[in-house]
Symmetry: C2
Subunit: 115 residues, 2 copies
């Protein structure tokens, strides 16, 4: 099977440190590098009054995004990587910051060619 890239959707429950855009930016960048990706750009937004963070790291190999709901201890992450990167390697780096009690991971192969 040929495909363009692997897209992980990660729902994090019981997570901490969801209201700090600087630490989240730093952690997602470190996660990208650990997975073997090249960072092109990142942007994070801090919402008031709930403290939620939305942000994205644009990669040469696609992207990582996050949206957090601190009041629910919930974060929705997606990690899409093409080429020789391993997006699964990004998850333990994020877990060092977020310490989620439960992770729901779904994996999609994008651009599947079933020839």
């Amino acid at each position: 099977e040929k495909f363009a890239g692997t897209h992980l959707l990660v729902d994090m429950w019981g997570a901490k440190n969801l209201d700090d855009p600087e630490r989240i930016d730093q952690t997602l960048r470190e996660a990208a590098l650990t997975a073997g990706a090249t960072i092109l750009h990142s942007h994070f937004h801090h919402f008031t009054p709930n403290g939620g963070v939305s942000g994205v790291v644009v990669l040469a190999e696609s992207h990582i995004s996050i949206h957090t709901w601190p009041e629910r201890n919930f974060a929705a992450v997606d990690i899409f990587m093409c080429g020789a990167c391993d997006p699964h390697m990004a998850i333990p780096v994020m877990q060092r910051l977020f310490q989620a009690k439960r992770l729901d991971v779904s994996e999609e192969r994008r651009g599947r060619v079933t020839a």
Copy 2:
């Protein structure tokens, strides 16, 4: 069922206009507004030599991202929206530019609470 938002993964095949970051930026912004979302930030990158585009529109209600492979007439889009937005409404706006011959759409409900 309660959930935080709807995440559409859209694989576009047989698509056109995949190598023009300005038009793609403009189209994704229009798609976001049509779906009822509020734009916070957008960033698009143009790759050489293949002309591919990677980019994201960060929304108050999550994000839209795109990664294109003009040499395969393929684009991988994701549309994640919370609140009262309807991410499905973004797709026809994109189709006006990309005119994809086939769309593979998968829908994930992020942050599902099965209480």
